[in-house]
């Protein structure tokens, strides 16, 4: 209610109108509460009836207050402006008139969040253990779950692969050059690991793990950091027993004091005796080339327009007739390589490719479904293969459009490639590995 005063007052310019509007809002709230009461009487618990009755009483009081305000406004415009100014400086005080266990807010917008909705989204786990689900997992289970869901990026021993994060090691390196920051060496709270794994991992398949699997993975990460023994079982009950080595390693931002000398009067002349170049970026040479720049430089008005179609024609030139291998559209395959970035966190392809979260994709186009040795397909996917079903381009496209629509129990958690062009491109790319 008070918000309306604040917003409309300048344009309406009349205190009476303002107060009248406020009264209208209160009346609307009153009707809404009455409707709530009717519903509560028919199918809700007595407690809710009482709450709604209480709300009506409050809203009646609010309506009376608004009527009073109208009178006051008609009498004294300036005094109302003073009230508004006072409300701005102490906004909490003015919301009292509409407060209540479930009374609408100043605008009456939105709807109540259901407890089960809050529970579905609020999965925070706090340093003191608040929010931990009941459950447990041991190191050895964690080893298996980690190998299946995490090791493709983080390494079998949480040591990390390539540029992916290292989760273990590094203790004692924080004061060295290039410290190794891992769960063991750096993270101050174990809750952070649990919270993050549960909400954000595995990469590309977030929130797919059971709570027990999350406990097991966290137990395994602790074990990989030599923080627990191999018989350790992590659970909501043992959680706070784990001591994190760097728990005391943080201070709150102290720039205002530690860097107080940066607030200064700057030097304008004779600030240094000599200046020498001590390091050059060109020597290091790690700056990416600018492909876009080349195109722009090459653009010389009309020339580019005539060149482009020629390139297109050569790219889509058909393969000689009678060739055994189907022609591959390399331009399309190249687009597909881009699309395949979405697949790379789980699938490898090419020389030396290995099964990861998903199977190797070499030769997948035209192969019998579930053909890769050593990869554990879902039962349903394996069954399709046993029927002799083949990944034709059409079948692959259907699967990739919506994997779980094609086969509801597929292990592939990927949402799918909605665009037909993307599917065509990625299949063309995969064909280059046949």
């Amino acid at each position: 209610m008070s918000k309306f005063l604040n917003i409309f007052a300048p344009s309406l310019g009349g205190a009476a109108l303002v107060a009248g509007l406020a009264y209208g809002v209160s009346t609307r709230d009153y009707r809404a509460a009455e409707a709530d009461l009717a519903m509560a009487q028919s199918d809700r618990a007595l407690a809710q009836v009482e709450a709604a009755t209480a709300r009506i009483a409050e809203l009646e009081a609010a309506a009376t207050a608004a009527t009073d305000a109208q009178g006051a406004a008609e009498a004294e415009l300036a005094s109302l402006r003073d009230q508004m100014a006072a409300r701005d400086s102490a906004p909490r005080a003015m919301s009292v008139s509409t407060q209540g266990a479930s009374a609408p807010g100043p605008f009456g917008l939105g709807r109540d969040a259901l407890p089960e909705e809050v529970a579905a989204w609020n999965i925070d786990v706090l340093p003191d253990g608040t929010g931990l689900p009941v459950g447990s997992g041991d190191v050895w289970t964690g080893d298996e779950v980690f190998a299946e869901h995490c090791a493709s990026c983080h390494g079998d021993f949480a040591e990390g692969r390539g540029n992916w994060p290292k989760l273990a090691g590094g203790q004692g390196t924080l004061d060295h050059k290039d410290p190794l920051k891992t769960v063991g060496s750096y993270w101050p709270y174990l809750s952070t690991t649990f919270d993050y794994v549960r909400r954000s991992m595995p990469f590309g398949n977030a929130q797919s793990l059971s709570d027990d699997d999350v406990y097991a993975i966290v137990a395994y990460i602790l074990y990989s950091n030599d923080l627990v023994d191999d018989d350790f079982v992590l659970s909501n009950e043992t959680f706070l027993d784990v001591e994190m080595p760097n728990a005391e390693g943080f201070i709150i931002d102290d720039r205002d004091t530690a860097e107080a000398h940066f607030w200064t009067e700057p030097c304008m002349e004779n600030c240094k005796d000599a200046v020498e170049i001590t390091m050059r970026a060109a020597v290091l040479d790690v700056t990416p080339e600018e492909e876009g720049a080349e195109e722009a430089t090459m653009d010389s008005g009309t020339e580019a327009a005539t060149e482009a179609p020629a390139e297109e024609a050569s790219a889509s030139e058909p393969a000689p007739a009678g060739d055994a291998a189907p022609a591959i559209d390399m331009a399309l395959a190249s687009e597909g390589e881009d699309v395949f970035k979405k697949c790379k966190s789980c699938h490898q392809v090419g020389d030396g490719a290995k099964n990861r979260t998903g199977p190797v994709l070499n030769g997948v186009v035209g192969a019998v479904i579930g053909h890769v040795d050593g990869f554990k397909y879902s039962n349903d996917m394996a069954a399709l293969g046993e029927e002799g079903k083949v990944w034709t381009e059409e079948e692959l496209s259907k699967f990739l459009e919506k994997p779980k629509g094609y086969l509801s129990k597929t292990k592939m958690s990927f949402a799918g490639l909605r665009k037909e062009d993307d599917r065509k491109a990625v299949i063309e790319y995969l064909k280059t590995f046949n």
Partner: protein, 429 residues
């Protein structure tokens, strides 16, 4: 004359090409150039002056003309394991003014840029509030909204330069920043709609904000900031947010590190303690030389950079009048002054601000209208903000913080302008 035309392109390759084929351009020197003969671009009727251009429906939503195709975001592939969880850089070397067009404003994703339709959008407010609420997108459009211009800078901007000069271009050293006009609702309005009486004394209370993407990136913001100037925004530069910037709704946390500007904002929780999420413990903390680390280093210190001339935007017009330009900003308020040095910090002169004074927590453009006569420069800029903070040198920062920091590198940048007009990222004594 075609040399002169090409000389206007602002790329290293364009520059190198110009040097190889057009040394004469530099030799023209100061003063008005004299035509060697009538210019065919003037003398002959050109195709565009005779024929017809595109009709009005050619591009229902327009992109820059193809001659500007080098003004694009760029990625540094070796920085991250995968482009889905990565960052790219705004081409600040090629822009002017202060507003960053959305289409070339840097992106940072943790689980990729998701497609979230307005119809599927829900925003929840829960925790220590009187009424846990769920809003639809349409609900949000019914709250009073405001417009503000703010910069958004990734805390890691210039992070690759801590140990030494590394990347050769303002885009790469300083391009994790953009500056847009946001239309949105004060977070305060939404918190009051849910009611904060349940939170009791607001001192020491927190607001945890979280996104709808798979990373569900979440950060804890102190209540004081949440009630101050934080916006729940759904438009930028007048149009809907781009997918890569959090369509349909993102958080705007003025002056504070970009990681807190939650994209695809889905939940706001009022709490009595910070969550200590991954992004506020293992990342976005600053390790000092002795191994202890600063946390909650939210505000972005005052900073500036010369965007032209710079390695990707060399001097190609020869001797004579030169506009040095750059950007300055501070998370603590307005930029009040920018100084420029051509001799690596021995002497400084005060630059002209694009406007009398900068907007608070927004990019400020500066210019130094000067002459270049082929001499070598060690070109620097130094920002000051309304709190009296002066942008420090890298040495001053290292003296306090050591070299193991990743984030919050706001040091003075040096470009070595060579006698050819070419520029290189260097570090100086």
């Amino acid at each position: 004359m075609s040399d002169g035309f090409e000389g206007n392109t602002t790329s290293r390759r364009g520059f190198l090409k110009g040097v190889a084929g057009g040394a004469g351009a530099a030799a023209l020197g100061a003063g008005a150039a004299r035509a060697e003969g009538p210019d065919p671009l003037i003398m002959e009727v050109q195709e565009w002056a005779s024929g017809l251009g595109d009709g009005v429906d050619e591009t229902p939503y327009g992109l820059p003309i193809r001659f500007e195709s080098d003004v694009v975001r760029r990625n540094v592939p070796w920085l991250t394991a995968d482009p889905i969880s990565s960052i790219n850089f705004t081409p600040i070397h090629a822009l002017d003014g202060t507003i960053t067009p959305q289409g070339c404003a840097f992106e940072r994703h943790h689980s990729g840029a998701i497609e979230l339709a307005k119809a599927d959008y829900r925003l929840m407010i829960n925790g220590l509030v009187d009424r846990p609420l769920v809003f639809t997108y349409a609900d949000l459009e019914r709250f009073p909204r405001e417009n503000h211009v703010y910069f958004c800078e990734c805390a890691a901007n210039t992070g690759m330069e801590w140990a030494g000069a590394q990347l050769n271009g303002a885009q790469f050293t300083h391009g994790m920043i953009h500056n847009m006009e946001y239309s949105g609702i004060p977070l305060r309005t939404l918190l009051e709609e849910a009611g904060l009486d349940a939170a009791g004394d607001l001192a020491g209370k927190w607001v945890y904000v979280e996104g709808a993407d798979a990373s569900s990136n979440g950060r804890s913001i102190p209540m004081e900031k949440a009630l101050d100037d934080v916006l729940v925004a759904f438009k930028a530069n007048g149009e809907a947010l781009r997918k890569e910037h959090g369509y349909p709704v993102r958080l705007v946390v003025p002056g504070w590190e970009g990681n807190m500007w939650i994209k695809w904002l889905r939940r706001i929780e009022v709490m009595d303690q910070p969550v200590e999420s991954r992004e506020e413990t293992s990342k976005y903390t600053d390790t000092l030389a002795d191994g202890t680390s600063r946390k909650w280093t939210w505000v972005m210190d005052a900073k500036s950079v010369v965007t032209s001339p710079s390695p990707q935007s060399p001097i190609t017009h020869g001797k004579g009048p030169l506009v040095i330009t750059g950007l300055a900003w501070s998370g603590r308020g307005r930029i009040t002054r920018v100084d420029v040095s051509k001799d690596g910090g021995k002497t400084w002169e005060t630059a002209r601000l694009g406007r009398t004074q900068g907007d608070t927590k927004a990019l400020t453009r500066f210019y130094l209208d000067t002459e270049w006569n082929g001499e070598e420069w060690l070109l620097q800029s130094r920002a000051m903000d309304e709190t009296g903070y002066v942008q420090p040198t890298k040495h001053m920062l290292r003296d306090v913080r050591g070299e193991n920091s990743i984030y919050h590198n706001n040091c003075i940048q040096t470009w070595w302008i060579k006698d050819t007009g070419e520029a290189e990222n260097v570090e100086v004594s």
